[in-house]
Symmetry: C2
Subunit: 250 residues, 2 copies
């Protein structure tokens, strides 16, 4: 069994992800927001690399079915219907909609994972569903890659802690002796040892979490820190993030 953790998409290229199963984590806030949106009935979330690309994608969809969403410097892009706060993605706001989303760190990480065999969108709110699928992947294929979004191409504590918490839960009995891990996984496990299940404590220690609190998004931290409130498995394929359920619906 092999688990690799990467702290940012910088330096991760197509050959690194090809044929692999990749878990993408941007727990503050894009992957949380995506899980919440799909849980609340959004049809799909389409990641866009830039504001311009988001507009272009939206123009090719039915006007009534699409919502533009995203942030720059943590606040809503002017003119977009939604920002990147999971609180905005209520059932009333998103049911039946396709959401075109562009964020500073989360969407670049998702785009870096394109070309992987399978891309799982992970957060605390859907942690149990992610664990279940990852256990299946490790049984079937024996290896998993966890890709943190990080923050502006740098290490971010909140995502790395989340990666460590996931790695820790996935370790087989016998722990590290029974599994091959990269340096990133080893370091993330130390964060998991330190913070345990205390997501909120890790968020509050992180510079990104502190910046969000200063901008008035303290409630987002609390929502993003709760495990298993939105038990859904968002998968990214063919440039769209959907759940198994909505995929089956067509």
């Amino acid at each position: 069994v092999k688990i690799d953790v990467f702290f940012t998409p910088a330096g991760v290229s197509q050959p690194d992800v090809q044929g692999r199963s990749v878990v993408v984590i941007d727990v503050l806030r894009a992957t949380t927001t995506i899980a919440v949106a799909l849980h609340n009935g959004a049809r799909a979330v389409v990641p866009a690399g830039s504001t311009e690309e988001a507009l272009r994608i939206a123009q090719n969809l039915e006007r009534d079915d699409v919502l533009l969403a995203g942030e720059r410097r943590s606040t809503r892009i002017p003119g977009f219907a939604l920002g990147n706060s999971p609180h905005e993605f209520s059932s009333d706001a998103v049911r039946g909609k396709t959401i075109v989303l562009t964020t500073t760190n989360g969407t670049p990480a998702l785009i870096a994972a394109q070309g992987a065999r399978e891309v799982i969108v992970a957060a605390a709110v859907n942690f149990g569903a992610v664990i279940e699928r990852c256990r299946g992947i490790l049984e079937e294929r024996g290896e998993l890659m966890i890709l943190c979004a990080g923050r502006e191409r740098q290490f971010a504590l909140e995502d790395s802690f989340a990666a460590g918490r996931l790695t820790k839960v996935l370790l087989p009995e016998g722990g590290l002796r029974k599994v091959q891990v990269n340096d990133g996984a080893l370091a993330s496990l130390e964060l998991a040892r330190h913070y345990g299940e205390r997501w909120l404590r890790a968020f509050r220690a992180s510079s990104h979490g502190q910046a969000l609190v200063e901008l008035g998004f303290g409630a987002d931290l609390r929502l993003c820190a709760e495990e298993n409130t939105h038990m859904i498995l968002p998968l990214y394929a063919d440039r769209r993030i959907t759940t198994n359920r909505s995929t089956n619906q067509g």
Copy 2:
């Protein structure tokens, strides 16, 4: 007091280092090798970004005074006098010489630090000298940046542990309450807590350390893991690394 740790030079650009004091760490093996070379009487070490650049720099120096050194995939570049093993940089080999050095990770990190106010080359072998200078910097200027070389633009356990060990030693009484640290520093402190002073244990856990052992460089790991065997403070300025001593000599 402010201490920032960056795990790779990827994403670190000129404005990030400008005006700052930067400690560069590539403990396996470039910064160890540089400290050993200068301790053993080399006049200077000149980092080069590529084999071609190394040759070009060497051609502008007196033939008898210059040695080409460096590695690709951990082994000596064909035709170069020296590789990147600190064991090769004996007094007999390097005394009075200017060494033009190109390595996979260490020299890119040094080059990324160009333009900083002061660049300190750090390893275990000169750890005490680095600590002393960093304490002076924190007193004078209140902030310090620690830049890990990492491995092929990714996180490397050995450098991040070293950064954490340095950060831990530099924390003022009162610890984290009295200092502002970035997410990288927080994570590196967890590694320092885990490995303590056991450099060799961290090296052996790292994928780079394991690769070096497989290539027959196990003795390098032991040399690189010993603190304060080569107490010297190499500084990188005007594209050359020299010690205070040799700078004073002109």
